[in-house]
Symmetry: C3
Subunit: 203 residues, 3 copies
Amino acid sequence: MSYLLMFDLIGCGVFAISGAIIAYQQKMDGVGVVVLAAVTAIGGGTVRDLLLDVPVFWLHQPSYMYAIFMSSLIAILWINSSKKLSEKALEVADALGLALFVVMGTQKALSAGVPPLTAVIMGTITGCFGGMIRDVLANEIPLIFRKELYAACCIAGGTTYVLLIMYFSQIVSASVAFTIILLLRLIALKWQLMIPVFRYKNK
Amino acid sequence: MSYLLMFDLIGCGVFAISGAIIAYQQKMDGVGVVVLAAVTAIGGGTVRDLLLDVPVFWLHQPSYMYAIFMSSLIAILWINSSKKLSEKALEVADALGLALFVVMGTQKALSAGVPPLTAVIMGTITGCFGGMIRDVLANEIPLIFRKELYAACCIAGGTTYVLLIMYFSQIVSASVAFTIILLLRLIALKWQLMIPVFRYKNK
Amino acid sequence: MSYLLMFDLIGCGVFAISGAIIAYQQKMDGVGVVVLAAVTAIGGGTVRDLLLDVPVFWLHQPSYMYAIFMSSLIAILWINSSKKLSEKALEVADALGLALFVVMGTQKALSAGVPPLTAVIMGTITGCFGGMIRDVLANEIPLIFRKELYAACCIAGGTTYVLLIMYFSQIVSASVAFTIILLLRLIALKWQLMIPVFRYKNK
């Protein structure tokens, strides 16, 4: 198994667990847990591939489904064991998955031949749309619209990548972009940063 | 008209009626009724075809739209006639449509050349995603996450099909899978079966 | 820049502003505003292009993203300036964008070779689905299901276009269809027309 696929599967697993936990909070049944886990894990990459008109990445690669199924199982066992969920650990894991997905999504878009700006958007979609669809299915306003810098980190990382790749190798560009997303996200979580744009009146 | 198309149109009609009824409960207007009916009827197959990257099935076949329009009309006339809706009849009709859609979706995926596991997922998407999008548009948490064994029946039926097709003819595999989905669904409805996975604390 | 692209960008800008305003009402952050603006502006055309299996229109044309970003900025500055929003002006602008999108969507579908009925549906999707996805993300029941004649105007305009194009030139058909959608929409807004289909009992 290539390193790239391994990283991708780890990213999927982490995202799947976050989907399974939301499903638990919404009191869904066993199938709902797996569906929500799957949508969170592969939703972003699926939308990206449809938009780029390239074959959907999990169509001929069942490993993704096994990773999602095992992650759902872990989440179910974990929650049933009544151990307290470590939100901290989950958030760090989610930040890792996000950084991974954005870099790989931006890369894939560039190699499909789209302009740099579109590639940044595709990276952001890869990172954010899975969670967005998850929230829509759970009947909530997607967190990416309100969570600390979630989408902003993706845009910053994707932009870094498309700029660096003009002068540096793929491995250097990817590593730097990955690090930037991860750091930005962890900093945003630590200090609860937000991007305010409107002066809301009190009400 | 081929038998296959006829079955497919019947499935669409049944699903369209369930969409129209939800639209009524949400007090939508005439266009909302038709849109929700259409989304319920063709949403699942549309997502499947997009993922498989084959031409969307209703694009060159207006009959689907006529079937949806007539079903919406029937639903509107029926509800306005103030006759009580027979939930029983609706549920049996829905189970028939579901069994039909799952088998045809799994078949179509296999002939598009995807692995068996992906084909089962495509069959499930064909059966469940129309209703899922309908519920999202009506601003509800999709029933498939909580309804008795809804998605589980699809998975069981699809798995049956991909296993049987290795040894038996298409007609035999399809018939057995169809029967299994229909029976499972009716049994689940009769005894209100659920798949519990979490031990929810009282609250 | 061609006239066609210019019209399209104007339509996108107008729709983007309506997305940004909804984002404001939902107290989203800066990124949420841009994402919701983008989804409203290009969602309908994106779904149309995916269904028609033609390249998604904004993939190789970054101008759309610039138009959306500038519109979001205008909306943010406008709202922050605490000037009262003129709902009238917004509604007329939205009607213009709608008429433009429906005509262009119907045209694009016909040139992709689908039957007239499918082309009308594609025109309607181009006009309505952006706003529909916007409302789903903002966790509301889409307005097109209840707003005065919104989707009905699209259907009327698209039908006009596919009928006229059989006998008249593209420019004549497009102009007449455009005018019909615009007028119908403005009339519907002025007299708050609805399409009732159900006799709802009092409750």
